[in-house]
């Protein structure tokens, strides 16, 4: 049996990768993928805890997160396409019209 801490460390690494990617990448698509990475890092910790404590709610939560992530990617990709059509760029730093 793999100890719980292994899963949690892997989950933390995945999450940290996601955060880093989110913060340093300029391409919206990459930023978007970093968000998915963070979500999945969290999912991994959910299932790990669920297996450890024999509690089903953790598994259910993972499904829940997946559904939200799917919806989010549908909406998010649509927004990205809309942004690209109007701005002709995928650089987040140039999508700043709401700035004061």
């Amino acid at each position: 049996m793999v100890p719980l801490s292994f899963y949690l460390v892997l989950s933390g690494i995945l999450f940290a990768c996601g955060v880093t990617g989110f913060l340093i990448k300029r391409n919206i698509i990459t930023v978007f993928m970093s968000i998915e990475l963070m979500l999945n890092g969290v999912n991994l910790s959910f299932v790990a805890f669920a297996a450890q404590w024999h509690a089903l709610s953790g598994q259910v939560f993972v499904f829940f997160v997946m559904v939200v992530a799917a919806a989010e990617s549908a909406v998010g990709l649509a927004i990205i396409i809309a942004v690209y059509r109007t701005r002709e760029t995928l650089n987040v730093d140039r999508v700043n019209l709401l700035k004061l």
């Binding site: 989110f22 730093d93 700043n96 700035k99």
Partner: protein, 670 residues
């Protein structure tokens, strides 16, 4: 079972008229407006007459309660109306003279803008004045008291586009507030010590209290405070300054409010509160002294005025002084008698003066009149009746009332020969300045412009109707229309015959109001109320004193004749001989200037420097301004955090999350 007289209808009817004209009058024709105003006022007058007709069958005082108003524990105030001989006299004077002046105003104001507004205000005034005289408690009376002040303010400032009229209105209101302050404190004292403001209850309690012979007590305080209120409303020293300025209003207003009715409210109030004054001799003495001094003081100013309405204004103040003199020597019925005759002849004088002003096209300066008696005979003869009445010539009305006052001032137990002597001298002055007015206006040569045309009034700076188109009778002096002459004639008849009632019969009629329920009267006072043989012996001395005052009146007439008809250059010489004193009198003893320097200017300066600049601007405004400025500056600094850069936001979120997690770890490991 006492009959229901529907007393409440009497004040309310004019209020309805005021409401209709005030709210809808703009669309009505002048005929409709005057019909409404006269109608509601006239019905009130008819009701008053009907009450007078069946008055002897009533049990007095007759109180009718309409609704209860304030209830707080034992303290209760109702909308209730109080009828006794005193309020009946006031009721008849107010509705009667008021109705006549309404009629006159239709003619006088016909050409003016704001016709409906004028009549709405006039009816509103009637409502408040009738509330004042019919109220059955001090609080309802106070409503009327304040209300007539409001109506007076509105009507003085009727031509509100003129600066002088607007500020005269404000002056009247503010000076009156000083008096009202005293009145209010008196009411508070009554609530605190008597627990009631109803006339009947207050008087019952006061009747049981001893006379404050040695030292001043509660009753003296209440009496003096009431007198402060009366001095404000009735233009007595030192609060008289508003009344001459109030002449800025249309002349019918001066006649109704500032001569016949409103200004006598103070006298009415003092007489109504006579139970208090009877037990506070010191307060009574103050009333007498204030009245006497005011009578003399105002009369001397009246001698040197050149504006026809100003002369009458000072004369009004002086005559009010007589009334207070009468009240001050506990001759209340004489005071009310003079109030009534004064309402007739002074109302008439103002209306006739209005007719004169109307005739000469807005001129008010007597030096530019003269020789008018042939041009306006009706006005001349009616004004003559009023002049003889105010000068105290028998058998005109003023003689009887003034004589009653002077006799009481001399013979009453509170009286003194000093009051009498000043009163007689004032009677001489009254006669002098009234005949001066009479001669200057009606006799000699006409001294105005040859034709009183429109631009002339504008150029001469006339104050009445100057900018108002004068619809009829252009070119030359003309008599007023019939609708203005009818009230003049009626009032002239009243001025001639109104005094024939006689002071004693009047006294007997008022006796139930002035002596009823007074159980604590000392035997001496009882004796004073009913004539004794000893007093009858005074009949000869009364005749003697009366002849002295008649002589004073005649000598005033002769002096005026000498100075203003026979030797018109003589006044100039006398004036230059008197020098500084004459200057002082012409400038009304500089009282307005003194008040301006002593009260008004410090008040304005203090308000400007301390309250406005010091507190309002530097403390209150500054606090708000600075906190607003601070908030703006902080926000300005914070604004830069919102860069619009998506990744910087994400960085903030990550940093925040890191801080939260670090905190939770720290909590967990502690």
């Amino acid at each position: 079972m006492t009959p229901n007289l529907y007393l409440w209808l009497i004040p309310v009817l004019p209020l309805v008229g005021a409401a209709i004209n005030g709210l809808l009058g703009k669309r009505f024709s002048r005929q409709t407006v005057s019909a409404i105003a006269l109608g509601f006022c006239g019905v009130a007058f008819v009701m008053a007459l009907r009450i007078a007709a069946r008055f002897s069958s009533l049990t007095l005082p007759h109180v009718e309660k309409l609704a209860s108003w304030i209830r707080a524990g034992d303290f209760q105030v109702d909308f209730a109306f109080y009828l006794d001989p005193l309020s009946l006299v006031m009721l008849l004077v107010v509705t009667g003279v008021g109705f006549l002046i309404h009629i006159y105003s239709v003619g006088y104001m016909w050409e003016e803008g704001g016709f409906y507004r004028f009549f709405s205000y006039l009816n509103l005034f009637m409502f408040f004045m009738l509330t004042l005289v019919l109220a059955s408690n001090y609080l309802l009376m106070f409503i009327g008291w304040e209300g007539v002040g409001l109506a007076s303010y509105l009507l003085i400032g009727f031509w509100f586009t003129k600066d002088s009229a607007a500020s005269a209105g404000k002056k009247a209101f503010i000076v009156n507030r000083i008096g009202d302050f005293g009145f209010l404190i008196a009411l508070f004292l009554m609530i605190k010590h008597f627990g009631s403001l109803n006339f009947e209850q207050v008087f019952r309690i006061v009747s049981g209290m001893p006379t404050e012979i040695a030292g001043a007590g509660l009753l003296t305080a209440i009496g003096l405070l009431l007198m402060v209120g009366a001095a404000g409303k009735s233009a007595q020293l030192p609060l008289y300054v508003w009344l001459p300025d109030a002449m800025e209003g249309p002349t019918p207003v001066s006649a109704l409010i500032h001569a016949a009715t409103m200004v006598t409210a103070g006298v009415y109030m003092v007489v109504r509160s006579h139970v208090v004054f009877d037990r506070a001799p010191q307060a009574l003495m103050v009333v007498a002294i204030v009245g006497t001094l005011t009578a003399l003081f105002a009369a001397t100013i009246g001698v040197c005025q050149t504006d026809i309405k100003k002369v009458l204004a000072y004369s009004t103040i002086s005559q009010l002084g007589y009334m207070f003199m009468a009240c001050g020597v506990a001759a209340y019925s004489a005071g009310i008698f003079h109030l009534m005759t004064h309402a007739f002849f002074k109302g008439l004088l103002f209306l006739a003066a209005g007719s004169v002003i109307h005739a000469v096209g807005g001129e008010q300066d007597m030096r530019r009149m003269g020789g008018l008696r042939h041009h306006i005979p009706w006005t001349f003869w009616t004004m003559t009746a009023a002049t003889f009445a105010i000068a105290g010539f028998p058998p005109f009305a003023g003689f009887f009332s003034k004589d009653a006052i002077l006799w009481k001032a001399f013979s009453s137990e509170y009286g003194s020969w000093v009051y009498w002597a000043i009163g007689v001298f004032t009677a001489f002055l009254t006669s002098f300045y009234m005949f001066r007015l009479w001669f200057l206006t009606f006799f000699g040569e006409y001294r105005g412009e040859a034709t009183a045309s429109e631009d002339v009034h504008l150029a001469s700076g006339s104050r009445i109707a100057a900018s108002v188109p004068h619809g009829h009778g252009h070119g030359g002096i003309h008599e007023s229309p019939t609708i203005m002459l009818v009230p003049l004639v009626i009032l002239a008849l009243l001025s001639i015959f109104g005094g024939w009632v006689g002071g004693e019969r009047f006294d007997k009629f008022l006796a139930p109001a002035l002596h009823a329920g007074v159980t604590a009267y000392s035997p001496e006072q009882q004796a004073a109320a009913t004539p004794t043989p000893e007093q009858r012996e005074h009949g000869t001395s009364e005749g003697l004193l009366a002849s002295v005052s008649v002589i004073a009146g005649i000598s005033g007439f002769l002096l005026a004749w000498l100075l203003y008809l026979r030797r018109p250059q003589l006044p100039q010489e006398i004036a230059s001989a008197l020098g500084g004193f004459y200057e002082a009198v012409v400038h009304k003893y500089y009282v307005d200037e003194i008040y301006a320097a002593v009260f008004v200017k410090p008040l304005i300066d203090g308000s400007t420097r301390i309250l406005w600049h010091g507190i309002d601007r530097d403390v209150i405004d500054a606090t708000l301004d600075n906190s607003a400025e601070g908030a703006r500056e902080v926000s300005d600094a914070m604004r830069h955090m919102q860069s619009g850069n998506l990744r910087s936001y994400a960085g903030w979120i990550a940093a925040g999350a890191a801080v939260v997690i670090a905190y939770m770890i720290w909590i967990g490991t502690r």
